[in-house]
Amino acid sequence: MGIVLAVLLIGGVVAAVVAGRSSEDSGTATKTVRGVIGSEKAEFFEDPDVVKALAAKGWTVRAETSGSWAMEGLDLRGYDFAFPSSQAPAAELAAKYKVRGTLPRPFYSPLVVVAHKSAAEVLAGNGLATLDEGHRGVLKMAAYLDAARADRTWQQLKGAGKYGELTGTLYLSSTDPETSSSGALYLAAASYVANGGKVVASAAEVGRTTPLLHKLVSVQGAQQSSTDAAFRDFVSGAGNPLVLVYESQVASLLADGQHPDDLVVLYPDTTVNSDHTVVPLTENGQALAELLSTDPRLRKLEVRHGFRPQGEATGFASDTSYLQQELTGVRQAPVPTSAVLHELARRARG
C-alpha cells in the first residue's frame, strides 16, 4: 500500500514539478540532476517526501542504481553525480573524473547481519552471538571466524537439529566483493579481526589473511551483486539464514511499518561503516551533495530511511527492539586502502 502510494505520488510530483516550469505555479527554477547510486539508496530517492523536499529546494533527482564498484565501468558523461555506498569506490571515481577536494559524505550505515530467529538462537546457544531483548543481538566476529576457519557446519552446533533448514556449512552471505561495496566491506571487517585488530596494509598481512577470506567467499558459491537483492531474498524466505546487509535496509523496512517476527538483527562486534560518499561531477552535483548534508528536512528523511547523518548521534532508530540507537559495543574497523581492498577481494574470489 505504502509503495503503491509512493509510486503514484512520485509520478504526481514529477509531473507537477515539470509543469511548474512552464506555467504559473512555482517561482523556483527546477534543476534536474542525474546520478548513479548504490541500490540501497533507491528507496530514499523514490520516497515522495524526499522528492518533495528536494523539489522545495528546486531540485529533481533522476537516479539509477548500480553496484558501487561497477560504477567505474559506466560511462558517467552527462551525469551530475555518483553516489556509491563507501569511500573506496568513490575515491576511484573521483580520480577517474578528476574531481578535487574532500568528497561529501552526508550519511553512513553500519553493516549488520540479518538472521532468522532459529539461526540467531543457535548462534547464541553456541557462544557465537549474544541476544538482547526482542529482535537484536551481537555477533562475535572472532568466534564466527574461528568457526569458519574450522568449516563448522550447523549440524555440529547444539540445538540446530530442531530446525531442518539449518544444515550445511555455517556462513554469512555477502555480495560479490569485486563489484559491490558491502561484500568488500565484509572482507575489510573480517581481515581486521583476522589480523589481530589491525588494518591490513602490508603484502605479508594480505598473504596471511587471504586464505580465510577465500574461505568466507568460496563457501557461498555464486553471490548476489547487490545488497538490495540479497535482502529481498532474505525477506521472501529464500536463501541463507544469515545475510550481511546495511542497517539502513532493515531500518527502512521497519519504517515502512513492517515488523517481521522472524527477523533478528545481529550487530557484528567488529563491523565497518559504509560511508555513503558523493562524487560530484558537476556544480549541480556538488550543490545536491551540500543539500543532502545540511538540509534539516532531508537529514530527517535520511534517518527515516535508516541512514545515520554525519555528526548526529541522537534521534536515530525509533524501533529499538530491532536496532541500536547508538552503536555501543560495536567497534568500527578502519577500511584498508582501495588498492589493498581490491587485492583482498580479488584473492578471496580467485
Binding site: M1, G2, I3, V4, V7, R34, S39, A42, E46, R62, E64, T65, S66, G67, A70, G73, L74, G78, H116, S118, D151, T153, Y163, G164, E165, L166, T167, G168, T169, Y171, D176, T179, V217, S218, V219, Q220, G221, A222, Q223, S225, S226, D228, A229, R232, D233, V235, S236, G237, A238, G239, N240, P241, L253, D256, G257, Q258, P260
Partner: protein, 518 residues
C-alpha cells in the same frame, strides 16, 4: 574436448534459438526470430521461458506505468551467452531470467549489467502424483532428495524434467540434486561433482521425460500417464493438477527472477526498467503475482498465496565458478542422463533441389556440434520412398568418427522424387522399435505436402495400432518451405510432439530448439 564442444554449440545457439512464446503446450509453434526495433515506451526483454505465465501481470504493469513489456523467450544459458557475446546489445532493453546465478559466473556477461532487482521467487521442487505419494508412504513435509533417490533406485518412481542446457528450471534442478546427493556442505566443487557421479547416474535412470520447456513437459506428463513425478519450479508444479508438491527437506535452489537493466541501453530505457520493477514490487502487483503464478512474493507485507507452504528450507548454494557449473552440465549431457535415439526423417524430394537442400545440409552439419556422447542418430532421407537409413552412434571413446560419418552422409544427400511423408514416418517407427533405456523421438523435416504413399488416415490408423513404448515416441515436425501447417500440427498433436517453425525463423534454429526435447 567435450566441454569445448558444448561451448561451441552454445555459441552457435546464440542468435538462433530466441523464440517468441505463442503457445507452450503440445502443438505450440515457437517462432525463432529477432526482436523488433526500439520503440519508446516498449521494453524488449530477453526472458526465461518460465515467465510466459506473466502475461496478465504485465498487462497490469502496463496500465500502471504506461510501459509495455515485450518478452522474447529463450533458455537461460543461451541468454547469458548472447549477453557475453554482445548479441543483446542494441537488440534488447532488459534481461529477465529465472535467476542470474549462472550469469554471474561469466564476467563478460556480468560486466554488461547495471542493476538487477528480484521480483518474486520460486524454489525447485518435486511434484509427485497423489497416488504415488500414498503408495510410497511419504510424508510430504519430510521427504529428502535421498528418499527420492531411493525410490528411483527401487524402481518405484519415475519422473520428467526439463533439459538443463535449455531451461533454467532444468539447470536449477540439476544443481539441487547434485548438491544434495553429493553431501556437499557448501558450494559445489569439481571434486564434489566427481564424487557424486555414480549416485547421480542412478538418480537420472529414473528420468523418463525430457523437454525444452516447462509447458511441454507438463503436457507430455499428462499425456503419458506412466510417469510418476515432475522436477521443476514449485510455481510450475502447482499449475499441474493432481500433483503433491514437495520441497525436499535437505535443500533447494530458489529462482528469484531479477529484472536486469543493461549498460548497452540509454538512461531513459533504464528509467523505464526501473519503473516497471518498482511497479512489480508494489503490494498490489505482488499479490497478483503470487495468486496467479504460485510464485512467492519478495515484499514482507504480502504473504505467499494459499497452498504455498511457508516452512523454511535450506538454500543450497549455487556453484561459484563456471568450471563447476559447466562441468556438471557437461557430465549430465554426456554421462548422467539417458542417451537419446533419434530418427531424422528428411524430405529430399525434387522440390528441395538447390537452395533448400543447401540449407538443410548446412543446418544438419552445424547440428553435429551439438550431439552428445552415446547418442544414436539415424538419417532417413526420403522422396517417393525412404532412400536410405544410416545410423551412427557418438561413441565416447571416439566421438569424432560418428560425427564425421553423419557429416559425410549429410553431404551426400541429393534431391529427387515425390513426398512420401507418412510412409516414411511409419518406417521411422519401425526402425526405432522399442526404446530401451533411451529418450526416443522422430524429427520430421519436409518442405511440402504428402504426395505419395500412405495417406494421413493410414498413418492415424498405423499410430493407433502402436503399443507400449512405441506409442510414446513423439514426432517433432518442422515447418519449412511450402509444408502444410495443419498437416504437420496434426502429426505433432497425434504423437505428443511439438511443431517447430522454420518458415519464419531458421532451419538451424528449429533443429537446435528440438535438441531440448531429445
Amino acid at each position: 574436448m567435450r566441454r569445448h564442444a558444448l561451448a561451441v554449440c552454445l555459441a552457435a545457439l546464440g542468435l538462433l534459438t530466441a523464440c517468441t512464446a505463442q503457445g507452450d503446450g503440445t502443438g505450440g509453434v515457437p517462432t525463432p526470430g529477432v526482436p523488433g526495433p526500439a520503440e519508446p515506451g516498449t521494453l524488449r526483454v530477453l526472458a526465461s521461458s518460465e515467465l510466459s505465465d506473466m502475461g496478465p501481470v504485465l498487462a497490469q504493469v502496463e496500465k500502471d506505468t504506461g510501459v509495455t513489456v515485450r518478452p522474447t523467450y529463450v533458455g537461460t544459458l543461451d541468454a547469458v551467452n548472447m549477453l557475453a557475446k554482445g548479441a543483446v546489445d542494441g537488440r534488447y532493453d532488459a534481461l529477465w531470467l529465472s535467476s542470474n546465478d549462472y550469469l554471474r559466473l561469466r564476467p563478460e556477461a556480468a560486466a554488461k549489467v547495471v542493476s538487477e532487482t528480484p521480483v518474486m521467487s520460486s524454489p525447485v521442487a518435486i511434484g509427485v502424483r497423489n497416488a504415488t505419494v500414498t503408495r510410497l508412504g511419504w510424508k510430504p513435509a519430510d521427504v529428502t532428495w535421498s528418499q527420492v533417490e531411493q525410490a528411483v533406485q527401487d524402481g518405484r518412481l519415475t519422473y520428467g524434467m526439463t533439459d538443463p542446457a535449455r531451461s533454467n528450471s532444468g539447470f536449477a534442478t540439476l544443481v539441487s540434486v547434485a548438491s544434495a546427493l553429493s553431501g556437499a556442505q557448501s558450494a559445489l566443487t569439481d571434486a564434489d561433482v566427481a564424487k557424486a557421479t555414480p549416485r547421480l547416474k542412478e538418480f537420472f535412470k529414473g528420468q523418463k521425460l525430457t523437454s525444452g520447456s516447462s509447458g511441454w513437459l507438463a503436457a507430455a506428463y499428462g499425456r503419458r500417464g506412466d510417469v510418476d513425478a515432475l522436477l521443476n519450479y514449485e510455481s510450475v508444479l502447482k499449475g499441474v493438477p493432481g500433483l503433491t508438491v514437495i520441497r525436499p527437506r535437505d535443500g533447494v535452489i530458489t529462482a528469484d527472477y531479477p529484472l536486469t537493466s543493461l549498460k548497452s541501453t540509454n538512461a531513459r530505457t533504464r528509467e523505464d526498467v526501473r519503473r516497471v520493477t518498482e511497479d512489480l514490487r508494489t503490494e498490489k502487483v505482488q499479490r497478483e503475482i503470487t495468486a496467479r503464478t504460485h510464485r512467492r512474493p519478495v515484499v514482507a507485507s504480502v504473504p505467499p498465496a494459499a497452498g504455498l507452504d511457508t516452512a523454511r528450507r535450506r538454500e543450497l548454494p549455487f556453484p561459484g565458478t563456471r568450471s563447476v557449473a559447466d562441468g556438471l552440465l557437461d557430465s549430465y549431457e554426456n554421462e548422467l542422463r539417458r542417451p537419446s535415439r533419434t530418427v531424422y526423417v528428411l524430405d529430399t524430394s525434387g522440390s528441395m533441389e538447390g537452395e533448400r537442400l543447401d540449407r538443410l545440409k548446412s543446418a544438419l552439419t552445424d547440428l553435429t556440434g551439438d550431439f552428445r556422447e552415446r547418442e544414436e542418430v539415424t538419417l532417413m532421407p526420403f522422396g517417393s520412398r525412404v532412400k536410405d537409413v544410416r545410423t551412427h552412434v557418438v561413441e565416447p571413446s571416439n566421438p569424432g568418427s560418428g560425427l564425421d560419418a553423419i557429416r559425410a552422409d549429410t553431404a551426400a544427400l541429393s534431391a529427387d522424387g515425390d513426398t512420401a511423408l507418412y510412409t516414411s514416418l511409419e518406417k521411422a517407427y519401425d526402425h526405432l522399435g522399442t526404446g530401451g533405456d533411451t529418450f526416443t523421438s522422430i524429427v520430421l523435416m519436409t518442405d511440402g505436402e504428402n504426395t505419395a504413399g500412405a495417406e494421413a488416415e493410414d498413418f492415424d490408423a498405423f499410430y493407433a495400432g502402436l503399443r507400449g513404448d512405441r506409442r510414446d515416441i513423439p514426432v517433432f515436425p518442422i515447418l519449412f518451405g511450402d509444408s502444410d501447417r495443419s498437416e504437420l500440427a496434426h502429426i505433432a498433436d497425434l504423437t505428443g510432439g511439438r511443431l517447430f517453425d522454420a518458415q519464419k525463423g531458421s532451419l538451424d534454429g528449429a533443429f537446435e530448439e528440438i535438441r531440448g526435447y531429445q
